[in-house]
Amino acid sequence: MHLAPIDGFIIAIYGAFVLGIGFVLRRKIVHSSDFFLAGRSIPAWVAGLAFLSANLGAQEVIGMAASGAKYGILTSHFYWVGAIPAMVFVGVFMMPFYYGSRARSVPEYLKLRFDEKTRGFNAITFAAMTVFSSGISMYAMGALLRLLLGWNLHVSIVASAVVVLCYIALGGLTSAIYNEVLQFFLIVFGFAPLVFLGLRDVGGWAGLVARVPDTFTHSWKYMGDAGANPMGVEWFGMAMGLGFVLSFGYWCTDFLVVQRAMAADSMSAARRTPLIAAVPKMLFPFLVILPGIIALGLTTHPNPGTAPLLTMTADGTYDYNMALPLMLARYYPSGLLGLGLTALMASFMSGMAGNVTAFNTVWTYDIYQSYIAPKKSDAHYLWMGRMATVFGIAISVTTAYVAMRFDNIMDMLQLVFSFVNAPLFATFLLGMFWRRTTGHGAFWGLVAGTLAAAGHYELTRVVGAGSLLPKLASLHTYPSDMAQNFWGAIWAWTTCFSITAAVSVMTHPKAAEELTGLVYSLTPRISSDDQPWFKRPATLAVVVLALTVALNLLFW
């Protein structure tokens, strides 16, 4: 892939805008709440697009195209079964407690609802996870730019770290959110022509269907049996493991996304944030998965006179991760190519900035202010937030270099974090909707759920796959690692739910007056009757869910 001056020029203009937004917003940062919560002043549409964009790391964009090439339209389950119902749930049912409690972070909500140890457990694992994932994506991006453009890996890593550092340290969460919205539009405009040109080249949807296996263009038809579809998982494991446990665990409890809604300018805007995000989210499969399926079509059935698009790797599978970059290289002339690469870099930065802003808030409020230096001035915490941005990014850069040297350690850490994440939603569900749930119950439920996830991994294996950790036993064999992952999550969730409930019954609950605003039955209902119908969360939720059902049926 070769860059013309015009491509470099487009990337440079984008860089200038990103930094410019940081500089302009610098003047608005007076209090720590301006820096960490964007002064709770973000309009709903801005918070909504940022909610979506913070999750759109480069790995997400490249990974979804890769999954499209590997599994076809089945990948859409991550959107139409996974993300959307969870986004509707967090907006309609959970946001009243997150936003209404005035908690400044998700761990702080756990402190208010439960106790210090539950908050500590969540805050520390979450903080570690964010700096770690931003380091991993930094490395992935650097490696991709080296491969595509021959850019120096060290320069890519350091330059991107410095840009993100500048705009967040200057403008805090507002700057991150504004840039995420900018990045959202860049991603849409950068990849939309790719879908158009790709579809045109394979002869439209009908032409694509003729080129790829039937399982790649039906999202449900082959879900009855794990052996019948390329994902190797049946509908129940998928709907419960991915749709319920993992997706609700991510979209409803992960501070990285919830922080965007907490920054909204009113309760109504906070509740609409995930619902607004759900609309573009349900259309994203067309933007990020479809190019992957087209890439596969152009590989197995190339057009006359062209070479297959994807190449084989040493182990005899296609190099799926190259699906999106190779599509860009094939269809984009200089100019549009600059825009496409800018979109890739934008997706990388939005993912990284999401991690960094979540990290600096949790670090400053939930770790530093709670355990290290309580009762300091607001200006001190604002200073600490900027410092946390600097050293959070420094740790990420270090992680990127570790990832470069030791692939296995990174995969292992990712695996361990997935154990911690799996049970989380059970804790929040019980905490928000059952007033009897206690702090001891929540804490021990989380610990037990995490151990259950690890234990499940230790006791099962995947057909024909190696293991990152030494196995204790092999009680069950799954057809694919996705099936193992989904079922592990189901076990973790169920364990956490049961232990939390059991311990709660045996321990002493908080008094009702301490739980007002934190638990469903003790919080006055929020009326949205004063809002016009199209702004009511319930109306939006019904519309979003109806459209999602329609999409599932359309690609059945």
């Binding site: 504004y178 919205v181 405009f189 040109l197 080249d201 984009y332 002339p333 200089s334 100019g335 825009l339």
Partner: protein, 61 residues
Amino acid sequence: MNLDLRLPIGLLFTILGAILVVDGLVVGAQVLGFNVNLLWGAVMVLFGGVTLYLGRASART
């Protein structure tokens, strides 16, 4: 909120779109029979322009 986000978005897309339009007119690379830079640049200028207009309209009131 003091800075209306529509202004930087509108400005960025107008500028990037204009660059693509100029390239499309001067170089005019064809992909599958389309002058993609010209066409997509025009769409971006249109989007940028409308966003700028909306941002400025609300800034005046």
